[in-house]
């Protein structure tokens, strides 16, 4: 079922809820560009593509794909897109569990989180997301790690 099977995905989504730290970076992006990070990334279609390709990468990633064996993938993608959309200043609302709740009892390790980050980077690379935008998004997501791992 979803709560157990969506953990990593839910984490990404929980960014907006759990990471006040993310917002200085977001504010900075807005100041320098006049656009939200959401807009610079290309809005919901582009975010959906990046999230989709990340999930494809995860599915092929033997380090962590077993965590998603029973996951409802379309639902996972929807949650993640909303989470990234909201966290980057877009007009979405993440409605999933917060990161601690979503990953409770999973005993995820930092290594697992890092693997997911690499799968996300790989997706952003293949979608030609500029490095500066990649780093801004990662800076928003990284503070979730303590809320995801070792729960």
């Amino acid at each position: 079922m979803k709560l157990q099977s969506l953990p990593l995905a839910r984490h990404l989504g929980g960014v907006a809820l759990t990471c006040a730290l993310a917002f200085p970076a977001l504010a900075h992006a807005q100041m320098t560009s006049g656009q939200t990070l959401y807009e610079q990334l290309g809005g919901k279609p582009a975010i959906t593509k990046v999230v989709h390709d990340m999930i494809v990468n995860v599915a092929a990633d033997n380090r962590i794909n077993h965590f998603f064996a029973k996951t409802n993938i379309p639902h996972l993608q929807m949650e993640l897109v909303n989470q990234v959309c909201e966290a980057t200043g877009g007009p979405c609302k993440y409605t999933g569990l917060n990161m601690r709740q979503a990953h409770k009892g999973m005993n995820l390790r930092t290594a697992d989180f890092n693997a997911l980050v690499e799968d996300l980077q790989k997706s952003m690379d293949s979608n030609n997301v500029p490095l500066g935008l990649q780093n801004q998004l990662l800076a928003i997501l990284a503070p979730m790690e303590p809320h995801v791992d070792h729960q």
């Binding site: 730290l21 970076a25 900075h28 992006a29 990633d61 033997n62 380090r63 390790r109 930092t110 290594a111 697992d112 989180f113 890092n114 693997a115 980050v117 690499e118 980077q121 790989k122 690379d125 490095l131 500066g132 935008l133 990649q134 780093n135 801004q136 990662l138 800076a139 990284a142 503070p143 790690e145 303590p146």
Partner: protein, 347 residues
């Protein structure tokens, strides 16, 4: 082991300093993100090129063991420093490191060697019948062994809002404190210039933070290290000073065997996930006075070491660092600037 491609990097622990040339191989790779292993400083610890960082060796996370092997070569006119080092990181908590350093001193080409002799302005320390200034002393080597222990106290370079903080100690043993380099007897170069001891222990605390969205939206690493030390030129010229040793008295060196608090810093920006550029500085105690150039009275102190560097991390097994380094004054030469190359293998 895995066949995954390690694509781009995030963080960086990277880079740094003095030049080096080394080697190493790697097999299984840990799960930390690219460049979070850093490189290896000349004393063998994971860090920049000349300063230890709070980072623990290897790419392991909390459940793994990793490590690195490094070779570094720094060359400045009349001096060459070669370092071989290895470090093992345990559960991203403890690091044990060893290093063997060789400083090659080309006394034969140091025209200022006359400063020790009887010529006008000379110190008159080397008499005819002993070793005259005209005698070419050739290449001399000073070697040193370093054993380091480091423990991560708290924090994570990437994932906590505060820095990763580690504490470490380094035991250093200079092997040529008493080596007869001049024919004058069992007085090695360190003792000759007034070092008090052949060994010493450094204590340090290092704080390292990686900003994923740093300067120009690039991953940016900042490190500060506070060190307590008695070392002269990192220990290659011994530890502390004793006015009764060698030519210390003639040079005006006073006895000093107390610890000095010295600051070290590194900053690096990842232009790409696998390429970082940056700079470092490392303060040093100034107990020891050196003869510099051809003046018997021009005296220097070790001063602050500095470097600017570029580091390349083609994958998690390998990194290459090139730097332009300023080692600060050394005996006979006020200015010691040259290139640093380091090859680092991580497993």
């Amino acid at each position: 082991m895995s066949t995954h491609r390690w694509k781009r990097t995030l963080a960086a622990t990277a880079v740094a300093g003095l030049g080096v040339w080394g080697m190493s191989a790697a097999h299984a790779q840990g799960s930390r993100l690219l460049a979070t292993s850093g490189v290896t400083e000349v004393g063998g610890s994971t860090g920049g090129g000349i300063t230890p960082w709070a980072v623990i060796a290897g790419y392991d996370t909390g459940d793994e063991v990793g490590g690195s092997v490094t070779g570094t070569y720094v060359t400045v006119p009349n001096y060459g420093l070669t370092t071989l080092g290895a470090a093992v990181g345990i559960h991203n908590r403890f690091e044990i490191s060893v290093a063997h350093e060789n400083l090659n001193v080309n006394l034969g080409s140091l025209s200022s060697l006359g400063v020790l002799g009887n010529q006008p302005g000379g110190l008159g320390l080397i008499k005819s019948g002993g070793v005259a200034p005209s005698i070419n002393l050739g290449n001399q080597t000073i070697s040193m062994d370093v054993l380091g222990l480091k423990a991560r106290l708290f924090g994570d370079v990437l994932y906590t809002p505060y820095p990763q903080v580690s504490a470490g100690i380094k035991y250093k043993k200079n092997n040529d404190f008493n080596s007869n380099f001049s024919g004058l007897g069992p007085i090695g170069i360190p003792k000759f210039f007034g070092a008090a001891s052949d060994s010493g222990t450094d204590f340090y605390v290092a704080a390292t933070k990686v900003f994923l969205n740093g300067i120009f939206h690039r991953v940016t690493l900042v490190n500060l290290t506070l060190r307590g030390t008695k070392a002269n030129a990192m220990g290659l010229l011994g530890f502390g000073t004793n006015a009764n040793n060698g030519i210390a008295g003639a040079l005006g060196t006073k006895s000093n065997d107390s610890y000095h608090a010295e600051l070290e810093g590194s900053a690096a920006v990842f232009l790409r996930p696998d390429v970082a550029v940056g700079g470092e500085f490392r303060q040093q105690p100034d107990n020891m006075k050196y003869p510099i150039n051809s003046s018997a009275t021009a005296i220097g102190s070790p001063g602050t070491m500095k470097d600017v560097f570029i580091a390349y991390f083609p994958n998690k097994s390998l990194s290459l660092t090139a730097a332009y380094a300023d080692l600060g004054p050394l005996p006979f030469q006020a200015s010691n600037k040259g290139f640093y190359l380091s090859l680092n293998g991580t497993f």
